[in-house]
Symmetry: C2
DNA sequence: TGAAGAACATGATACAGATCAATAAATATT
DNA sequence: AATATTTATTGATCTGTATCATGTTCTTCA
């Protein structure tokens, strides 16, 4: 019997690796010759919402947040570890503007791929184009699922969901150091910092998680999943 | 001076037309030979979340809702008029399952394009692949923007936003007959039917809109936009 | 045509989560 | 090391929206 797709707010792309494997040696060389490797310091902005996108960025190492902002507030769309691409939506012809900003949580090494070269590769290599399509489909499904989860879960469920995601998909460990402030956890879950704090405290007293400053530890994964599913 | 991108919850795809224009006569013939035109009656289901996607669907005429559902509730992701595609995310290799359901608000005529043929066209025609990428980018931006709008606006703003979208983008008229029930307006805005009714009544007494049964009329567009922006 | 079920409407109440306020702790700055 | 600034925490209160209850108006179809 097949399990229903879980409604969680996190699904990282699995297809990024496949993407560049489709390139011929020649194409790979073209790519290499048209990219710059840049090191960013913790706290630096990687791209700014509204600016012209000249590059697609590949995260070699580090941790990044992708977010949208306005006067009214901020929404963190994704937290991305190494192995992911930033700025794919800027591939849109005639409108290659970043629709979100990106920020380095940790020191990061990025490969900046000239967007014209990226587009050229799409046009000349169908396998590559197909993999980009796969990536965009995954992104789309991920965003829709996260959106749906937001409308269905309330505060406890969202926090539980987010913690599960951080543990399972991003850090791939039960214990991890989280470089997000409470305010950012709020922007990631659509709550206020105060609410985030209260819910985390509750989880702590209930021994579902352990928190020591920025060190988070999942103590009762089953319980947390349950809260995520039904909270 | 350039205007900031508005944070609304509605942006339909503009690139669908461009998509099929890239095909050669031969490819177009291949497409024609591998599609079925099907008429659906008002109220029929066009595709069901979780089922295998054998086709990409093009809406020739009619009005469709795209939605996700669970025991906990439903979220209407999009309301799509003629000229749009359904099921693009099913292009994902090895996982061509519909992640949402679609339903006909009105009698609809659809072209069902065999997904294998669609994929073949992507692989053999780079221009076509590029246009599909454009479509997916637009979709992604639309979903993210709508998601962001949801986290920033509250009830009045969401309803105003939704009405503006229906008027400007979907019906392209100030007066239109809306085939959505109040319950569905609720599923589209993430509210309860009762709240939707109260807010619509308020708009009506404030002479921002007129409602006669299912006929909606935008009376004060400026005011409505203002509520959408700051509500 | 009339009964049954939806959809619509409105009022009363409850409550989740925001807002406001006031420390405490941690971090940055001089 | 001392001061300033941000971040974290806790409590008290407020409020937007859901929930519940009840009645009315539309649809549907037997």
């Amino acid at each position: 019997m097949k399990k229903e797709h879980t409604v969680n707010s996190c699904t990282l792309n699995t297809a990024v690796e496949n993407c560049f494997q489709t390139l011929t040696d020649e194409e790979y060389l073209l790519l290499e010759n048209n990219l710059v490797v840049v090191n960013y310091k913790k706290g630096e902005m990687l791209c700014k919402q509204g600016t012209l996108a000249s590059h697609i960025m590949y995260i070699c190492s580090g941790l990044v947040k992708i977010y949208m902002e306005r006067d009214s507030g901020t929404l963190i769309l994704k937290v991305l570890p190494a192995g992911n691409l930033i700025g794919l939506t800027a591939l849109l012809d005639n409108n290659n503007v970043f629709r979100y900003s990106a920020y380095a949580y940790q020191d990061c090494k990025l490969r900046l791929i000239d967007i014209r070269v990226f587009k050229q590769l799409i046009k000349q290599n169908n396998q590559f184009a197909n993999q980009v399509i796969n990536l965009l489909c995954e992104n789309q499904i991920q965003t829709q699922t996260r959106f749906f989860a937001f409308t269905q879960k309330q505060s406890f469920g969202r926090i539980a969901d987010t913690l599960m995601c951080l543990s399972n998909n991003i850090f791939k460990m039960d214990e991890f150091e989280l470089p997000l402030s409470r305010k950012e956890l709020a922007e990631l879950t659509g709550l206020t910092p105060e609410s985030v704090i209260r819910i985390l405290s509750k989880f702590k007293t209930d021994k579902v998680i352990g928190i020591e400053g920025k060190i988070f530890k999942i103590l009762d994964k089953e319980k947390l999943q349950q809260i995520s599913d039904y909270g």
